[in-house]
């Protein structure tokens, strides 16, 4: 059967099941609301555990609008089906979850059901949070109830018909929600691996970005961790880390996730940057466990010839247009003798996935947007070049970097690719 026909059958099946499920399961019972938010817990270690889980789960990232108060929601999530606005999960009774019992909270995380019984869209990755233990959910609940309540009513979603019909989610759940904890692994595994799996498949919900989505917005179970596309950035696969120019290791992954940079790769950027900010606040042992689990998903390190060193910077010859642009705009940080490399111990340009990837998308995004400051903190900052260089110039400088540093085959149609991504970004 052709994939188009398969998709059509799948959609058809979902609609039939969905309608049936809608009638049967769409409305779950409401759990009565609390009159006021529970008093903040005095159990400091429970709160600290909850705080750590919130960092591991990166809750604040989605549930906080730009310039908004933490957890007060209102952040637009662009999905293939339209825009969904995240909810206010501060303990405000009227507009947040202040009226939710722990039971209601747990049900939302495990089943994707709101306190009043309506179904949550799986943009909220409850198929992952369902893996969390009772204890962790209790700690997270205590932490969320100790946040500052913010009065911020929900924004209306902008989803296209028929997806704005929530009961259809019941059908989606029947197909894609595997409730409850993870099954026991096939073989005996170390405690660290088990912890890592618990975090990656559970609160960490890495697959929400790192696994491609099917037509119904669910993770393709046949291609776990094969990569994705989020907010205009290619999300690298997590099942090919040993195929990188320098194979990833547990140490490198741990450093990358905690500090936002890996010495044999590059800096976290785009949608991954806030993840690294939050994992910086998680215990090192947890992040190392995540790395251990991820490394277990990898193919063996291939026997490959060492990548050639990039050609020495041609300082004394007349420069090609791309080289001239690189010299002025990039070399101050990215050339081999630049202080960022020698004094800053930052990785070489040719090591990162960006310049080595088959698609130029991420390289184009990096050059257009740079890597931003976060307030007055340290950052792996890169300035944006969207207003400095034209599409052709970005194409020229990327072609130069690709050939001189990464030494990979040229990307095709670079100027058009730059123009297209610039246009995407302006929407």
């Amino acid at each position: 059967m052709s994939s188009k026909k398969k998709a059509a059958w799948t959609v058809g099946a979902v609609i039939v099941i969905g309608v049936a499920a809608a009638l049967a399961y769409a409305r779950q019972p409401a759990i009565p609301p609390l009159a006021q938010a529970p008093a903040a817990s005095a159990n400091q270690s429970l709160l600290a555990q909850g705080a750590r889980l919130a960092e591991l789960g990166d809750c604040m990232q989605c549930h906080t609008a730009k310039d908004g108060k933490p957890y007060a929601g209102g952040e637009p999530l662009a999905t293939p089906f339209g825009t969904i606005y995240t909810t206010n999960i501060t303990p405000d009774v009227e507009t947040g979850i202040g009226g939710w019992t722990q039971e209601a909270f747990a049900r939302a995380l495990r089943k994707g059901v709101s306190r009043d019984g309506h179904l949550l869209y799986p943009a909220f990755p409850y198929p992952h949070f369902t893996r969390m233990s009772d204890e962790d959910i209790a700690a997270l609940y205590a932490y969320m109830m100790a946040r500052t309540p913010v009065h911020a009513p929900a924004k209306a979603n902008a989803l296209s018909f028929p997806l704005n019909f929530r009961p259809l989610v019941a059908g989606w759940n029947l197909l894609f929600l595997d409730e409850g904890p993870l099954p026991q692994p096939a073989r005996t595994q170390s405690a660290e691996w088990l912890r890592g799996r618990y975090l990656v498949e559970g609160a960490g919900h890495c697959a929400s970005c790192h696994t491609p989505m099917n037509a119904l917005g669910a993770e393709k179970s046949s291609q776990p961790y094969a990569g994705g596309l989020i907010d205009g950035w290619n999300v690298p696969p997590l099942n090919a880390l040993t195929l990188a120019r320098k194979p990833w290791t547990v140490d490198q992954i741990t450093a990358y996730l905690r500090t936002g940079i890996a010495s044999e790769h590059s800096a976290a950027a785009g949608p991954m940057l806030p993840v690294a900010h939050h994992l910086a606040n998680a215990p090192e042992s947890d992040v190392r466990a995540i790395a251990t689990y991820l490394m277990s998903l990898q193919p063996p390190v291939p026997a490959q010839p060492a990548a050639p060193a990039p050609a020495a910077a041609a300082e004394s010859q007349p420069l090609s247009p791309g080289a001239a642009l690189f010299n002025a705009s990039c070399a101050g940080c990215h050339s081999a003798a630049a202080p960022m490399r020698s004094l800053g111990d930052r990785p070489a340009l040719e090591l990162g996935s960006t310049l080595n990837a088959d698609s130029p998308r991420n390289a184009i995004q990096m050059v257009l947007n740079g890597n931003p400051w976060t307030g007055s903190s340290a950052a792996h900052y890169m300035p944006p070049f969207a207003n400095v260089l034209t599409d052709q110039q970005i194409a020229d400088v990327l072609a130069y970097a690709r050939s001189t540093y990464a030494q990979r085959p040229a990307w095709n149609d670079l100027p058009a690719a730059v123009a297209a991504i610039r246009k995407e970004n302006s929407k």
């Binding site: 247009p321 001239a324 010299n327 002025a328 101050g332 400051w373 300035p383 400095v388 034209t390």
Partner: protein, 175 residues
């Protein structure tokens, strides 16, 4: 030869195409405003306006500028005839060592060109790429807010005049 249009004047410069605009401005056109602060796009002391956008001239190759007009602080006004923004900086005494100020002014000018009447919150956010070490931030913000309001009133007055002119034409007056 590299052609650059700076403050409305076209120049033909026999310079290395890989030269950042900052050095062309300072050394070949003898303009002092844009300054070397870091050469890394982190401090904004080199900020000028290219094609209507604020850019770090320390990272802009002269070969990339093309026909896009370059504006520096020298093009805004003089001490005797300062622009609204420059006058606001002088009135608020918005400088201590002053080294960051030309970059601040150009960064702000780019915002006010597009949004006269920009609010203080918008101004604070817009100025984030620029650093000041002496701690003159309060006065810098105050000066830009001041100029923002001046320019908004000017824009309103201009619109008012334009509307009146259009109305006059439409009603057949030959004023």
């Amino acid at each position: 030869m590299v052609k650059l249009t700076v403050n409305g004047v076209e120049h033909d410069l026999d310079i290395d195409p890989s030269m950042p605009l900052l050095y062309a401005l300072r050394n070949h056109l003898e303009l002092n405003g844009a300054k070397y602060g870091c050469g890394l796009g982190q401090c904004g002391a080199c900020t000028v306006i290219v094609g209507g956008k604020p850019v770090f001239s320390c990272l802009t190759p002269v070969s990339a500028v093309g026909a896009r007009p370059v504006r520096t602080i020298e093009g805004l006004g003089t001490p005797e005839q300062p622009s609204a923004l420059q006058k606001a900086f002088i009135d608020k005494q918005a400088a201590q060592c002053g080294y960051c100020i030309a970059g601040m002014v150009m960064r702000a000018q780019a915002l006010l060109d597009e949004r006269p009447g920009a609010t203080e919150a918008e101004i604070r956010e817009h100025m984030q790429p620029n650093l000041c070490r002496c701690g003159t931030h309060m006065r810098i913000i105050s000066a830009i807010v001041d100029a923002s309001q001046t320019l908004r009133k000017q824009r309103q007055a201009e619109n008012q005049t334009a509307r009146q002119a259009v109305a006059a034409i439409e009603s057949g007056d030959q004023a």
